[in-house]
Amino acid sequence: MTDSKYFTTTKKGEIFELKSELNSDKKEKKKEAVKKVIASMTVGKDVSALFPDVVNCMQTDNLELKKLVYLYLMNYAKSQPDMAIMAVNTFVKDCEDSNPLIRALAVRTMGCIRVDKITEYLCEPLRKCLKDEDPYVRKTAAVCVAKLYDISPSMVEDQGFLDQLKDLLSDSNPMVVANAVAALSEINEASVSGHPLVEMNAPTINKLLTALNECTEWGQVFILDALSNYSPRDAREAHSVCERITPRLAHANAAVVLSAVKVLMKLMEMLSDETELVGTLSRKLAPPLVTLLSAEPEVQYVALRNINLVVQKRPDILKHEMKVFFVKYNDPIYVKLEKLDIMIRLASQANIAQVLGELKEYATEVDVDFVRKAVRAIGRCAIKVEPSAERCVSTLLELIQTKVNYVVQEAIVVIKDIFRKYPNKYESIISTLCENLDTLDEPEARASMVWIVGEYAERIDNADELLDSFLEGFHDENAQVQLQLLTAVVKLFLKRPADTQELVQHVLSLATQDSDNPDLRDRGFIYWRLLSTDPAAAKEVVLADKPLISEETDLLEPTLLDELICHISSLASVYHKPPTAFVEGRGAGVRKSLPARGTVSEDTQPQLQTVIPNQESLIGDLLSMDIGGPPAPAAPAAPASNLDLLAGGLDVLLGGPEPAATATTATGSATGLLGDIFGAVPPASYVPPKQCWLPADKGKGLEIWGTFTRQNGQMRMEMTFTNKAMQAMSGFAIQLNKNSFGVFPGGALAVGALAPGAAADAPLALAAAGPVQRMDPLNNLQVAVKNNIDVFYFACLIPAHILFTEDGQLDKRVFLTTWKEIPAANEVQHTISNVLGTADSIAQKMTLNNIFTIAKRNVEGQDMLYQSLKLTNNIWVLLELKLQPGNPEATLSLKSRTVEVATCIFQAYEAIIKS
């Protein structure tokens, strides 16, 4: 007899028929009917109408039937809360059953029914079950506490379930311990206050480590994951935890192994590198990581993503294991691509010959993505391992000879980087490259080729002809190529001014007169001015030395890497994104970081400026490099289907409430204009109340109160000096220390002598192009004020909004592309409470402070404002404000390439909104 027949009934009046069957006297028939109901439920049919009839079947001795009814209940109770009450009695009765399996089943199911009235009745049975004599019931009850916390955190805290759960950590049964740990970890991460509700201490950890040896594989994962959140008090404790965890590396379950790796990697941070243990651990970590590569491909994928992190953090661990990352012919593509990534990371002088041999092999495979990546990898090797550069270049040349279109294009892109790294070394191959000019059809490859021609214009005899041929179709080129063409022709002109004057004029007029692209126009005008006013200066600018190119590519930013190391084995480590980037709300948990090193060595040396070339970057060129903000609005907005779903439906902006959006911007800019014209009349921008910066007792009688303002594009420090001393003060002067935004006094301090008891206003104009030094917090400003008595030092915080410039308004499309281009890792969220006013009034208020509203829309009753601003140091910041009418809480999301500015911008934003 099979169950598949239950799937096949599609007659009319089916529900009616099922109803009568459910109410049949015969047990068998009843059971059959319930099975049919479940089958319909599975395929998505609505069978909620049968609720009372199914619930009637609940009271039965037949465990199988009972489970089916419970399954039904879990699905439909929420839609029929009133009727679900009918089930409560049976649940409560089942929780007292003599059979532990039934007791557990009842408490497990009850926890899954999210109906308030049922939850009320859950507490008593749950309390009993947590103390049940049978471990099976206790382990089920432990998980049920987590379920209850998900429904009602306050109930769990008020009813003392946390303490009971904590007690279970000392249970005699390892599985109970494991489930209790899992539940506690979840509750801790979800805790409303943001603080863990239950702290782990050394004795608990000890119990966990003991249970670790005895529980199931899954239990071991729970325990290890919980251990990874614990920070031992000192190196000694870390040492002993390490020793007790290392045996887990030999477990057959990859999750156990990876979770153990996570704990060990974290604890190794606490031990100083010289200790013997770190060496031993590094040696012990390699084999299990390698073994993971013989697991099922899906597990391999997770392992490889994590190995990628481990290799970045501790390159030594796997440096001898290059061979295991060689790609196998029938590896799935996702495994191949990941292996390739790790191969590049492990490439060194010792193994480069083998690696190159492999890469060359891969470059002839079938899968286009894989081949491209392999070609790119060859280029990376050339840059990373200097002695191999020559071999790499010749390999690339061989590949170019194959004439396979995408191989050639990819090769040219990487050769451009090789030229940058080793100038004046491989130019002999330029002629070969030029032969392939016609076949290039991808913008990146074309742009790279144009860059090469421009850079080596003096060695390519027909450089002018080549560039001229590109100019014919100038308007059809991608913006990236157009920009390169412009620069290349100017370079050519500077190198061979005699015969290329016509060409340069042609390209300048193309760029400045016939183009709609503001970046192109701007660059064109800059060149034009430079060339017409001071050709020597132009030479200095355009032909200047380029910054070094970085050896490593696609390295994760160190703080992100450290955070991800704490998330080894989890989804975050697979995505290489912090959990906040893909988990909503409180589930994301507290941001994790590695423990501080045992031996702290402050690295204060300024780092050499390098650029990390990546796929999207424009070709590094001085002009495009200095722009710290988002790159040019390169591509026209992508078609909606291409949109990253994560970006949160911004696409509506494009087609949706267009008129409304333009209306807001129009009014916004209109007031801005008015403000400019009438100067004095308009409502002023937000000025924070004055604060006491220097109290009289510290200033030998001089008291300074002050604040910052910005009016008509001018930043000011508004100070009031009060003389509380007995003698007169004179000879005031002020100096500002180097700071993050390069703010410096734009004039002298206009305060004369100050009689005892007198006060004077001391406005100081500020400019923002001074020397820069990173401060902590970022907006910290250290001030020294001098008078005839002494020099006084104090520090104050610059409210970020005075740094917002008047030209911070982005075009709607540019906003959209930029928002998408900035990786999700660079998104920060902030909740503002007690928000007053409507979206419109807020937008208006923000415009006054140079936070420009790009668009506004309404989604499911929520008002969304999209705003942009630009800081004086050219950092662009994109904002999204989520408002719910009637809810005083608003969520502000921020995206920027330089996400460090977030905190001070949030502060300023909040201050403005509440002003």
Binding site: T42, L71, A104, K139, A146, P247, L258, E298, A303, T402
Partner: protein, 440 residues
């Protein structure tokens, strides 16, 4: 943790859907179907993020098994768990197929309820599950029996029940090794490793404690140290005893093995589950004796003809026999005809596989044979060069290519009256080809 589990057939119809968490709605079922199963471009990763919801999937024989979550779950655990579910289902009703899943959907729901609670995996050992999830309806079990079930599900030795009795105490050990090789056309070993496992079938009474000894270098050294006393040069010890040792890069054990004991004493001790299970897995890379060597010679004669010669050498004791030998030589897509001559076995051109398949039933050690083929090609105008996939081969040999040896397996059962000597033990070594490839 896991928010829900869905099973789909190849058309994307849902066969099983079980939601564990409130944050997963019914629309998740459709999201996966639309964005992964029916995706226009084949999805290139087993993990997919759709609108802040993550999907993990594995596909087995036309069946998609997907786990979904909105949290930062342990990804390795989710995949291991999905694989485990496949295991459990297979041991309950055999092959994973649409029909079997539909036929057993009530059972599957019952299993899913048991092995996953609020998204947390619970005991998923088939042996244990089968004691209380039977689909025959639990006969009103006595109180003792119920207690036994629950203590077993949660117990320290969750993989074995008490009170097992056999008239004949017997155990079988299979040492199964898969040799993986990637060789360059010139005969240089690019990479080689052995992935081995020890599968044990135990039919033993009571709760026997077993101790398992192998010729692992570290174990032997530790032993040498123990016997040799104070300052013996440990490196030369195994050599002195004249017994070959195997250098194990890494090994992993079934959950019954006491890992902490292995770490400290290098001894493998355990109480085995009843019946068949995988005791250990290991990997070696040093001193592998490669049972076969393939020497390819490919010559392209003009645009329409190719000549291939493949020499096959067996490289083990002449007294042993290799079996199920199969060499697969890929041919270009535009092959129109193939003439074959082989000295041993049978060779055939299989157009559907784009390869010449050469099969030899048996071959003794230290022998050599060869195949030559003339491949005629259709003239094509595609400029794309044919990239030669490697020649792969399969075989089975009756020894362990890594040199792995079982030294002993001792059984102690203090409560019952049988001793180690009364247990009948069988050991067998099998070496098989993993991915055994030679580039040409």
């Amino acid at each position: 943790m896991i928010g829900g589990l869905f099973v789909y057939n190849h058309k994307g119809e849902v066969l099983i859907s079980r939601v564990y968490r409130d944050d997963i709605g019914r629309n998740a079922v459709d999201a996966f179907r639309v964005n992964v199963i029916h995706a226009r471009q084949q999805v290139r990763s087993p993990v997919t993020n759709i609108a802040r919801t993550s999907f993990f999937h594995i596909k087995r024989a036309n069946i998609w098994l997907a786990a979904v979550t909105k949290q930062n779950v342990n990804a390795a655990m989710v995949f291991e768990f999905l694989l485990k579910i496949i295991d459990v289902m297979q041991s309950y009703f055999g092959k994973i197929s649409e029909e079997n899943i539909k036929n057993n959907f009530v059972l599957i729901y019952e299993l899913l309820d048991e092995i996953l609670d609020f998204g947390y995996p619970q005991n998923s050992d088939t042996g244990v599950l089968k004691t209380f999830i039977t689909q025959q309806g639990i006969k009103s079990a006595s109180k003792e029996e119920q207690a036994q079930i629950t203590s077993q599900v949660t117990g320290q030795i969750g993989w074995r029940r008490e009170g097992i009795k056999y008239r004949r105490n017997e155990l079988f050990l299979d040492v199964l090794e898969y040799v993986n090789l990637l060789m360059s056309p010139q005969g240089q070993v690019l990479s080689a490793h052995v992935a081995g496992k020890v599968v044990m079938k135990s039919y033993l009474s009571g709760m026997p404690e077993c101790k398992f000894g192998i010729n692992d270098k570290i174990v032997m050294e530790a032993k040498g140290k123990g016997n040799g006393g104070i300052s013996g040069n440990t490196d030369s010890d195994p050599a002195r005893s004249g017994k070959p040792v195997v250098v194990i890069d890494d090994c992993q054990f079934h959950q019954c093995v006491k890992l902490s004991k292995f770490e400290t004493e290098h001894s493998i001790s355990f109480i085995p589950p009843d019946g068949e299970f995988e005791l250990m897995r290991y990997r070696t890379t040093k001193d592998i004796s490669l049972p076969f060597r393939v020497i390819p010679l490919v010559r392209e004669v003009g645009r329409t003809k190719m000549e291939v010669k493949v020499v096959l050498k067996s490289n083990f004791k002449p007294s042993l026999l290799g079996q199920k030998i199969e060499v697969k030589i890929p041919t270009p897509l535009n092959t129109s005809g193939v003439q074959l001559i082989c000295l041993k076995g049978k060779a055939k051109y299989k157009a559907s596989e784009n390869a010449i398949v050469w099969k030899i039933k048996r071959m003794a050690g230290m022998k050599e044979t060869q195949l030559s083929a003339e491949i005629e090609l259709l003239e094509t105008d595609t400029k794309k060069k044919w990239t030669r996939p490697p020649i792969s081969m399969g075989f089975e040999v009756p020894f362990a290519p890594s040199g792995f040896k079982v030294r002993y397996l001792k059984v102690f059962e203090p409560k019952l009256n049988y001793s180690d000597h009364d247990v009948i033990k069988w050991v067998r070594y099998i070496g098989r080809s993993g991915l055994y490839e030679t580039r040409c």
